[in-house]
């Protein structure tokens, strides 16, 4: 069955058709984007603030109106009609066009902000200057390219969040989850850091800090300029620094133990928030093959090792040697890291070895040995820690992972690879949470006896590319490191087979769950073999 796109028409045949209202809404949204484009081209708007407000309103209302026209007149229920016929959601022409535009935007944003009007000397121009009124209102400072990005990002989560809530209005889990990501994005990622900047003065300065953005997703959190800034800001700064450490080492493990990684990935995180809202139309594009899963495991854990090595090197680079000046010296820090990693590894090996597949064992041993050998070589022969200068590692990580992977590929390629490419293949935070979710968490997706009809809706709409059906048709619980707990598999299941649950650790991964309906004696035979 070929679904090759032969035209780029927005209307076409049902269920590809859009209504008159949706056409007007598209016009409205596009006019808002056009205003932004004109601003980037340095068109001099007479009443800049007014036009700025108009442009953002037009975009937001355009999206919301479009969604309203799409969903509210229909019955509550699953709204996937025509997903694979529509150009935008099936890698058709509109999909490619969107991917190219988004990718282009990210390249400009990360590497050529001057095209957006960023100016090293004097005041900004173009698009960035267009956002000045809002930035001044919030933080008192002129806008930067990151402010422009943050504003658009928040607007996207907000307006597509409304769309998502309408789409899944029969599903309370989805509604609550979406309100949650909308709240965390607006308050924690967008407003609070801007307000915090207001507190800054000549004598007091906090770094830009999105409190929910936890290391290692926030890979720069322990860099020297931030640590200096935290420490110089007295008690408040110190509290923030401590919060950064506590959030990864204490808060995260507790919440992940209780609820799985979903508490973060699909309820709080900004990357997840965008994927779940603006990216929702692309979730079905993720690759479900066994090969993709293999690649995913190696790549995401390699990024994790990279960020641990990079951060260790960076922190090591600015610590001192004199224990009397500050208790945490270079050597003590390195030894602590080595001891921590070894203990962590030993713990997993001792308690959970049987749950690790062969490649996971090789990977874990291999990486641990490499890291420890490099630390050892540094002590014995005084070579540069991890063979590269800390600054080189930091820069490469920021470029390769921070910009290219999470931004350009991760978001720019939504319409091609699906909405969670970054979360699945690249995010080191997701890797940590995933290890814990797989090995030590109450979370699982349970299946409903023998009711699965292997239709494939669950696998198709899994944004993380998990072949949910493989488990469901065997009546097996789904306990996968990558599952972000979005709950869509459960929502789209036409037979009520899947449920996200937190439960006891015992028998959580029940590979021999009885497929009910058949003779019990026979099932014993089936499982014995």
């Amino acid at each position: 069955m070929s679904t090759v796109q032969r035209n780029m028409s927005l209307t076409g045949e049902p269920p590809k058709t859009i209504t008159t209202q949706q056409k007007i809404a598209t016009l409205l949204g596009m006019s808002g984007l056009l205003m932004l484009l004109l601003a980037s081209l340095n068109v001099d708007f007479p009443n800049k603030t007014l036009w700025f407000i108009l442009s953002l309103l037009a975009i937001t209302l355009g999206i919301i109106w479009f969604a309203r026209a799409a969903y509210t007149a229909k019955h509550e229920g699953i709204k996937n009609d025509g997903v694979w016929f529509k150009s935008i959601s099936s890698r058709g022409y509109l999909g490619w066009l969107t991917a190219i535009s988004l990718t282009g935007f990210y390249i400009v944003l990360y590497f050529y902000p001057q095209f957006l009007g960023l100016s090293k000397e004097g005041s900004n121009t173009g698009l960035i200057a267009f956002f000045d009124p809002l930035s001044t209102l919030l933080s008192g400072n002129p806008a930067s390219q990151w402010f422009v990005y943050g504003t658009l990002y928040t607007l996207a989560i907000f307006s597509f969040g409304i769309k998502f809530i309408w789409k899944y209005r029969h599903n309370r889990y989805e509604r609550l989850r979406t309100w949650s990501v909308m709240f965390f994005q607006t308050a924690f990622a967008f407003l609070i850091p801007e307000f915090m900047a207001r507190l800054n003065s000549d004598s007091f300065s906090l770094p830009y800090y999105d409190l929910k953005n936890i290391w290692p997703l926030n890979y720069y959190n322990f860099e020297q300029y931030r640590i200096d800034s935290f420490i110089s800001a007295g008690d408040v700064g110190l509290a923030l620094l401590l919060f950064g450490i506590v959030s990864i080492f204490i808060i995260t493990p507790i919440l992940t133990y209780k609820y799985g990684k979903r508490w973060y990935c699909s309820w709080v995180c900004g990357c997840g928030g965008l994927a779940e809202t603006a990216g929702d139309s692309f979730r079905q594009l993720s690759d479900k093959t066994m090969n993709a899963w293999k690649i995913e495991r190696w790549v995401v854990h390699s990024v994790l090792v990279f960020v641990v090595v990079m951060t260790t090197a960076v922190v090591h680079s600015y610590l001192g040697d004199d224990a009397s000046a500050y208790w945490l010296t270079k050597d003590l820090f390195l030894i602590s890291v080595a001891v921590f990693l070894t203990l962590l590894f030993a713990g997993i090996w001792f308690f959970k070895r049987n749950e690790l597949k062969k490649d996971a064992r090789y990977g874990a041993i291999g990486y641990l040995v490499i890291v420890l050998v490099l630390i050892g070589m540094h002590f014995t022969s005084g070579k540069t820690l991890f063979l590269f200068e800390a600054e080189t590692l930091r820069k490469s990580y920021g470029f390769l992972i921070g910009a290219i992977f999470s931004g350009v590929i991760g978001t720019g390629f939504y319409p091609i690879f699906g909405s969670r490419v970054w979360c699945r293949f690249g995010c080191p935070m997701a890797a940590i949470l995933g290890l814990q979710q797989r090995l030590f968490s109450k979370f699982r997706i349970t299946t409903n006896g023998g009711q699965c009809i292997s239709c494939g809706n669950c696998s198709t709409y899994c944004e993380m590319g998990i072949d949910v059906r493989t488990y469901a048709q065997k009546g097996e619980n789904i306990v996968r490191a990558s599952c972000v707990g979005c709950g869509i598999c459960s929502a789209v299941c036409p037979r009520g087979v899947l449920k996200l649950e937190n439960g006891p650790l015992e028998n959580r991964i029940a590979p021999n769950e009885i497929l009910l309906g058949n003779d019990v004696d026979l099932m014993n035979y089936v499982h014995k073999n």
Binding site: M1, T3, E13, P14, P15, T17, H75, E76, G77, I78, N80, D81, G82, V83, W84, F85, K86, H170, N171, R172, Y173, L176, T289, M290, N448, G449, G450, Q451, I453, S454, C455, G456, N457, S459, T460, R469, T470, Q473, G487, S490, A491, V492, P494, R495, G496, K499, L500, E501, I514, L516, G517, N518, D519, V520, D521, L522, Y525, V526, N529
Partner: protein, 432 residues
């Protein structure tokens, strides 16, 4: 090496093949005239609706078959020769077998209606049916109205499919309420309203008299038996049930009834020839089950059973408590145990319906003993495992109502209705 030939690559045949492979290294060949690979038949509707592509309906990646050393052969079996242990393909070539599993499934019922062979008249069962629908009903310009004949699970699926392409649908149902041969009145009536709320022109107590042709041999209209009304349409969906697809076995010597006659070991009158799934017919019905069960789950269970027998552990087909599920537009349905629309003489029902008219349950129990017999649930997901256990334990109706929350399988944060159900139960008028 023993060669096992399986005709049919649906859930029954494929389950048998997988389990035989788990238990042995016998040579296995699966033959299909329909598709190269196994796909989920129940998901055909989602391809037409654009929820999935054909690729997504395949439960196993294409490398799976080679990796598990299961040979796939695309071809149509014209004849089975049990005496010489051979099958004959439509091209004339033959294939020898040591053991044969017939798992050919069903075909749509055609009751000899005038015009049933016209272009644009079809059932909805096979991949080819889906292709035909895509050809005759790609949109509401080429297909300005479709008429569906037969009010069962496939009929309502077809209605939902067509309505996603905004094709007006007239739904002719013989019974005076949708699927009320199976569902009790309250549920069936709720579904009538739900179907109509989706702008389906539902005509109850209506039979098809004949299908009229245009000058090109394509359907032009149907005539309704009761009223004589002529309904212009471009597609007619015949969904009045399915029956075993066994025409090719007619003169084979294999005992046939409506389906392939099998004993409890799923064996036909020939040793080493088995039949499973939709096409198998039990000599004696098992419990309340029908002799032919055209259901996904029973096909799978028969596949598991026959694999045991073939691999040396002779096993009877011994299904546990009945269960099934479906989805009617937006309303999910699950059933565990037996709830009959025409109550058996020992049977009584407790029925609860939510005021929003999309959720309801019916619990069947034994009039005298109060023992729980089965439940139909609409719009509330419930746990298979729990009801299976309660049925085995022969729990009472009181117990079920009181513990209903243990069986709830709705997603987290969903509104619960157990209290409401309990209070409705307690406030029932007492019938002396």
């Amino acid at each position: 090496m023993e060669h096992i030939v399986i005709i049919g690559n649906g859930i029954s045949g494929v389950t048998a093949a997988r389990h035989i492979r788990k238990l042995s290294d016998k040579k296995i060949t699966i033959i299909s005239a329909e598709t190269d690979h196994f796909f989920s038949r129940t998901a055909l509707m989602y391809i037409y609706m654009g929820h999935m592509k054909y690729e997504h309906t395949k439960p196993y990646e294409d490398y799976f078959w080679k990796k598990n050393n299961i040979e796939l052969r695309r071809g149509f079996v014209k004849k089975v020769l049990p005496e010489t242990k051979e099958i004959v393909f439509s091209e004339g070539d033959t294939m020898p077998f040591d053991t044969l599993i017939i798992a050919v499934g069903s075909k749509s019922n055609m009751f000899g209606w005038p015009g049933q062979d016209l272009k644009g008249v079809q059932g909805l069962y096979s991949f080819q049916d889906l292709e035909a629908l895509e050809k005759y009903a790609p949109n509401n310009k080429i297909c300005q109205r479709a008429v569906i004949v037969g009010g069962g699970l496939i009929g309502i699926e077809l209605a939902e499919m067509l309505s996603t392409r905004k094709i007006p649908v007239t739904f002719l149902v013989r019974e005076d309420s949708f699927w009320n041969g199976v569902l009790p009145q309250g549920e069936s009536e709720m579904l009538n309203r739900h179907i109509r709320s989706h702008r389906i022109d539902l005509r109850l107590s209506s039979n098809l008299k004949e299908i009229l042709s245009d000058e090109n041999g394509q359907v032009r209209a149907v005539v309704v038996e009761e009223t004589g009304e002529e309904i212009p349409c471009n597609v007619v969906g015949l969904t009045a049930g399915v029956s075993p697809n066994i025409d090719f076995l007619k003169d084979s010597g294999i005992a046939l009834g409506r389906g392939v006659k099998v004993d409890r070991f799923l064996e036909t009158n020939f040793k080493d020839i088995y039949a499973i799934g939709d096409c198998a017919e039990q000599h004696q019905p098992i419990g309340n089950r029908r002799p032919i069960e055209a259901v996904w789950y029973t096909g799978r269970m028969m596949g598991e059973t026959v694999a045991q027998t073939i691999c040396g552990n002779k096993s009877q087909y011994n299904p546990g408590h009945w269960f099934n599920s479906a989805k009617f537009f937006d309303i999910e349905y699950q059933t565990y145990g037996w709830v009959f629309s025409e109550k058996k003489d020992y049977e009584a029902h407790f029925h609860w319906k939510h005021e929003d008219d999309t959720k309801c349950i019916t619990i069947a129990y034994h009039k005298e003993s109060g023992v729980f017999l089965g439940i139909n649930t609409f719009g509330i997901r419930m746990k298979h495992e729990v009801f299976d256990r309660w049925l085995t334990e022969k729990r009472s109706l009181d117990y079920i109502i009181e513990h209903l929350i243990e069986a709830n399988f709705d997603p987290e944060f969903y509104t619960h209705f157990e209290k409401e159900i309990l209070s409705a139960y307690n406030n029932q008028p007492v019938i002396a």
